[in-house]
Amino acid sequence: MTTTAGSNQLLAFIKFLRGKDVPVSPADTLDAVHAAGLLGYDDRTVLRDGLAAVLAKSTFEESTYREAFDLFFAPQQLDTQTLESGNGEQPASTSENGADQDKTTTANDSAQSLEELLQNPTAQEDPTLAGLMNSALMNALQSGDESTLAMAIEAAAETAKVDEIRLFTQRGQFTRRLLDALGETALRDAAIEFEKSQPRAFEEIQRLRENLRYRARDRVERAYLVHAAGDTEDFLDDALSEVRLANISPHQMARMRKLMDRMARKLASRHGRRRQRKRRGQLNVPMTLRASVATDGIPFNTHWRQVQRKRPQIMAICDVSGSVAAYAKFLLMFLYALQDVLPRTRSFAFSSSLGEVTDWFSEFPVEEAVSRVNRVYGGATDYARAFTDFNELALQDINRATTVIILGDARNNNSDPRLDLLAEIKAKCQRLIWLNPEPRLAWGTGDSAMLKVTQHCHIATECNNLKQLERIIDTLLSAMHGN
């Protein structure tokens, strides 16, 4: 049976998938093993379709899955013989048997030519060479017997522990180990010996060596992709989420975008919309009747049909002056990536004067909207003016379901920031959050009014990398949805 070997391959594939950010739970893994057992490993398309149903849970995941499947199970990779080699039952001996049979039947031109080339006294007398020429590996290489070769490579990969590869730079080292385990040394010795005396045979051996090396390298790269690439990606993502947002360079933006989208997806699914039962509207007769049983048929506790959807709203006010602009960009991008759970985000930008920029985000792609904001509102900071403008513009729209997020460093160039206006906002809204990109230790130093600002906020916190940003939004969402 090929089931154990197959499921080993399958487990490696699932690990690979997880590395590609497709969440596969242990229960899914069990289902996948069952499914594969039912479908068999013979028909690649059927297996691919079947596993897709079990492992990929959305169209988005399915496209990742299909790519991964094709990468992992290269078409010739999935014939049963290859899978058998993973069994660990003396693959070397089986491969020799197989090769012996093949040798008699499928010797082709190049094989003959090498044998002819070696029909001379020196080669015949050399016992190591004769041994080499009769080895299964050599035969397989010469006859182009793919399955024997693949089996030999799998067996050698196990001996050389190729699957332990962790770093990209280890590829060379592992390829060498794999080649040694394959017995390539004998070929190399032969090549050295023939280099002078028999140029044609030397060429032939070199050709075979190149072929073998190519396959070994391929095998090691696949091992890297499966076992390490995911780790490296995770490592890079982790590192990036802790970098100060202002230090993120343009070439990292693509990765950053992906990371933010992923975080946003995670947050969105965690905080799907929730509802609360209303206390008025249409009477839920069955429920009321049922509850009335306890009170002898008197409908003491009433139940209502309608459910109320909470309409939380976020107003984000971002300082886009030079020192804070980079952070504002990420806050806005993150908020707009969360449109599924935060459908009513209004955003305002200021440095000296303040204006609403919500429409730009519906009109343009997020990145362009952000750069437009920076262009129009960038300049020297004046909090007093900004608060005045904001209160004129939006104070009347703030209610008990509104969360106001202000991003700024609270440095007002030594003039009065008019915190009384801030207090007005606080009194009307549900929650006022101040995010400051400066580390807590710097608050209140120099012209920073941050310590005073803190008194007028529900939450004032340091926020300068993606991880902190995610945590704040997460807390915010759970508070908004009341769980």
Binding site: H34, T45, D49, G50, A52, A53, T59, P286
Partner: protein, 313 residues
């Protein structure tokens, strides 16, 4: 392996054949997933644009295995009283009336409060009994003696909370009723959930299902579907029609025509005794295929090009 409830679904090729005999041309993919669902006893979550045959798949499945189809149409505000079960309140209230009247007989000669209560307990609690239970689709599907097809249609229209309600049904094929206990399915039904992807479903729900995405079909597949469903249509006209529909899907439309629209169109052409797609015919019948005025205007603007493609040029 234990003997399965649905022997018709025991083999991938057999499923393909049986379904196409029932008039549903399915891709190997669909057949594979249906086979796995039957073998692993798991529900299938079918996603895809409207009109590609998601609901039809469940109907055909019921037809092929010759079992009743229990359908639950989801909508906003759907709750357990409409999906799982409801108590027959009227009868329950009547029962309490009767109990009150009988109370004298039951308690006749009882000494003291303690004995009265003991007697009352010994009559057994029938207020919450299965007799007072009104089964709704989910419970009804569980109560079928030898299998059924349960179709939970447009699950994305139901509320988020309703999904949690489904979890027990989907993973264990049972329903817990607080007053009675757990009702186990007499036989495990084949479950199909369909979703038009208007919102993301919860991970917990997705995890319990096999995922099947049905996209718009390829030209070959759609031709086969048209031939199977509207066999009276001449083959050259049906080829033209399918090519036309495929070309129209390439346009930037508000709502691309799906298979169901293609079939409607094919039937209309049949009724009109058409034997050739031409500009006038398309102009007159385009509203069968496209549902929005602006889409129709857009398509008519490119009619010449579309007809050329339909001719196979």
């Amino acid at each position: 392996m234990e003997t399965t409830l649905y022997p018709q679904l025991d083999d991938v090729t057999a499923i393909s054949t049986a379904f196409s005999e029932a008039g549903y041309i399915c891709t190997p993919r669909i057949a594979t997933v249906v086979y796995l669902a039957a073998a692993l006893n798991k529900p299938i979550l079918v996603e895809g644009p409207p009109g590609v045959g998601k609901t039809e798949l469940a109907k055909t499945c019921a037809e092929v295995i010759a079992k009743p189809l229990v359908r639950l149409q989801c909508y906003e505000g759907l709750d357990e009283a409409k999906a799982l079960y409801e108590w027959k309140y009227g009868k329950q209230l009547l029962y309490t009336q009767i109990l009150k009247e009988q109370l004298g007989d039951i308690l006749d000669g009882a000494k003291g409060l303690k004995e009265s209560i003991q007697r009352l307990h010994s009559t057994g609690d029938v207020f919450y009994a299965k007799e007072f239970l009104e089964p709704r689709p989910l419970l009804r599907a569980m109560e079928q003696d030898d299998g059924a097809v349960l179709l939970i249609d447009e699950i994305d229209k139901a509320d988020f909370e309703f999904e949690s309600l489904l979890l027990e049904v989907l993973s264990d094929y049972q329903i817990s009723i607080p007053e009675i206990g757990t009702i186990q399915a007499r036989s495990k039904p084949m479950v199909f959930l369909t979703s038009n992807d208007t919102r993301d479903l919860s991970d917990a729900l997705k995890r319990r299902c096999l995922h099947l995405h049905i996209p718009f079909p390829s030209i070959e597949l759609e031709s086969r579907i048209v031939t199977a469903r509207v066999p009276e249509l001449e083959s050259h006209l049906s080829d033209q029609l399918v090519r036309f529909v495929h070309a129209i899907r390439e346009l930037d439309l508000k709502k691309s025509p799906a298979i169901s629209e293609t079939l409607d169109w094919a039937r209309s052409l049949l009724l009109l005794h058409a034997n050739q797609l031409d500009a006038k015919l398309v102009h007159d019948t385009l509203n069968v295929l496209l549902k929005y005025e602006e889409d129709i205007v857009e398509a008519e603007g490119q009619l010449g090009k579309l007809l050329k493609i339909a001719e196979g040029l």
